[in-house]
Amino acid sequence: MSCISTNNLTKYYGRRVGVDHLSIDVSAGELLGFLGPNGAGKTTTIRLLMGLLKPNSGSACVFDLDCWQQSHKVKAGVGYLPGDLRLYPWFTARYALKLFSQIHRKDMTREGEKLTELFDLDPDLRVDHMSRGTRQKLGLILALAPRPPLLILDEPTTGLDPIIQYKLYTLLRSLADEGHTIFFSSHTLSEVETLCDRVMILRKGKVVANESIESLRDRAKRVVTIYWKNSANHEAIMAPTFLTVSEKNSKTWTGTIEADAMELMRWCQDKPIADVIIEQPDLSALFQQYYLSPENSQ
């Protein structure tokens, strides 16, 4: 079943494009990373899904409800964390949870208390006395406490320390395993790689990649370093076609492979090699290709 679907969704800010004929589909229970450089249209897409912006053309649906016409019904099932999070200065976690429970007409104080403990947040600290990271924690608590079927998080790890980031990853993973759908935007390639089932990359308002992390990994190049034996004469050895050697010296070759690592190992068997180091697939290089505009990447 489709949890989020957009069809030719288009939004302009005057003459500047926000999103351009965007058609995406997110299944229930999926953990989707939404990547893209600044101004790519990530936040615009999220705001269109939340009914904050009205599309110029096309449509966006969440739970088969129109995001603009039926936004309050959509939001009943969505936990939302805005990108540029600003909370009421008089909020404390305790008061905000009580107030949000009244507005949601659903008691979320218990779940909120659990999250407050998990994120190590003082429930009586006012927002105007909080650091940026602490405010982000409160924003996350308020988005997660109703345990909604869909979480839309705009750069959720901004300002969080690595320990809290790790706790958040674990929590999001377990929520996805329970069947919650998580749609989050990020700038951090590593967190998308660690956490997501699928990644969608946006550039200039258009989707330029929409793939599972597994298939991206398969396509990603791996950096390989071959160490030759001291006595070996490897001058005459030719590199196989799947290995692109970028640096050669008397002791080592450094390059990248596009093929399976096993193929390289088979090629190495009858060569005077002392050691081979094959690194993890380098997704960042692949992402960067997508980030760069066609004219820049050439």
């Binding site: 705001r47 009914g51 904050l52 009205k54 309050h72 939302y80 805005p82 107030l99 009244q102 507005i103």
Partner: protein
């Protein structure tokens, strides 16, 4: 109606409303006591000045001529610019909160991320605006009635007419608030919304003054909201100014609905 939204609004406006209420109570009490008590001093000096008489005429809504006495001066307490400024200042503060204020401070994304419709947000804020405005006018009424026990009974204004004036004043409050709601719905900046609202009210008051000095301006008299609030005439006659009240309420309702229409249809997010 969403009680949570109303609780949030009350949490944010109770302090400012209490401050305005204290101001209204102090000011209305002072005027109620001072104006008739020191009438002779006023009549002997200040009221002789033509300019001052013109201002009083403009505020009371009609030329009091030679009929000016302690009672006429007491009715001035219901149109004194400071009382009006306090009431309008309060409603400008409240009616520009959403969406202009929420966008300006960046909290609108959180507010609109909640499972409520924009209409519910608008209604919740409106209820608090109308409720607190009613409270301020009741406080002015109570202050007036409490303090008049200290002045001679022959100077008292009739109670039922004071109530009619208070109701007319509330209609004026609704008319001005309605316009401010529309200005707020069209703005992304709180300061801009407040500034435009203040300028419009000031222009309306100025028009009322200009009319007393410059005859040709009478043709656009209907544009001034004070043209529909004339306490002196209410105190002089025993009739309800139904037409004025309906006009003010209709102005308020029209602009309030226009504000709702804009707010519900426009893009709203932190800019």
């Amino acid at each position: 109606m969403n009680w949570g939204l109303m609780a949030k609004t009350i949490r944010e406006v109770w302090m400012v409303t209490i401050l305005f209420a204290i101001g209204v109570a102090i000011f209305e009490s002072m005027l109620t006591y001072i104006l008739p008590t020191y009438f002779d001093e006023f009549a002997g000096h200040i009221l002789e000045i033509k300019f001052v008489r013109n201002i009083i005429t403009a505020l009371l809504g009609s030329d009091v001529g030679d009929k000016i006495g302690p009672t006429a001066l007491l009715s001035f307490s219901w149109v004194h610019p400071l009382l009006l400024t306090l009431l309008w200042g309060h409603e400008i503060t409240l009616c520009t909160r959403t969406p202009a204020g929420e966008i300006d401070r960046g909290t609108v994304d959180i507010l609109l991320g909640l499972p409520v419709s924009r209409w519910q947000i608008y209604i919740s804020e409106t209820i608090i605006w109308l409720g607190s405005g009613l409270m301020l006018i009741l406080i002015a009424l109570v202050a007036h009635l409490s303090i008049r026990t200290f002045i001679p009974e022959d100077m008292h204004l009739p109670l039922h007419r004071i109530i009619v004036v208070a109701i007319n004043l509330y209609c004026l409050y609704i008319a001005v608030g309605g316009v401010v709601w529309l200005v707020s719905a069209l703005s992304d900046r709180l300061g801009k919304a407040m500034g435009i609202s203040f300028a419009m009210i000031l222009a309306s008051m100025l028009l009322d003054f200009i009319i007393t000095f410059w005859e040709p301006a009478k043709s656009i008299e209907f544009l001034s909201v004070l043209d529909y609030y004339r306490p002196w005439q209410i105190f002089q006659s025993d009739t309800w100014p139904i037409q004025d009240m309906l006009t003010l309420t209709a102005i308020g309702l029209f602009f309030w609905l226009a504000g709702a229409w804009v707010f519900i249809r426009r893009d709203v997010c932190t800019v």
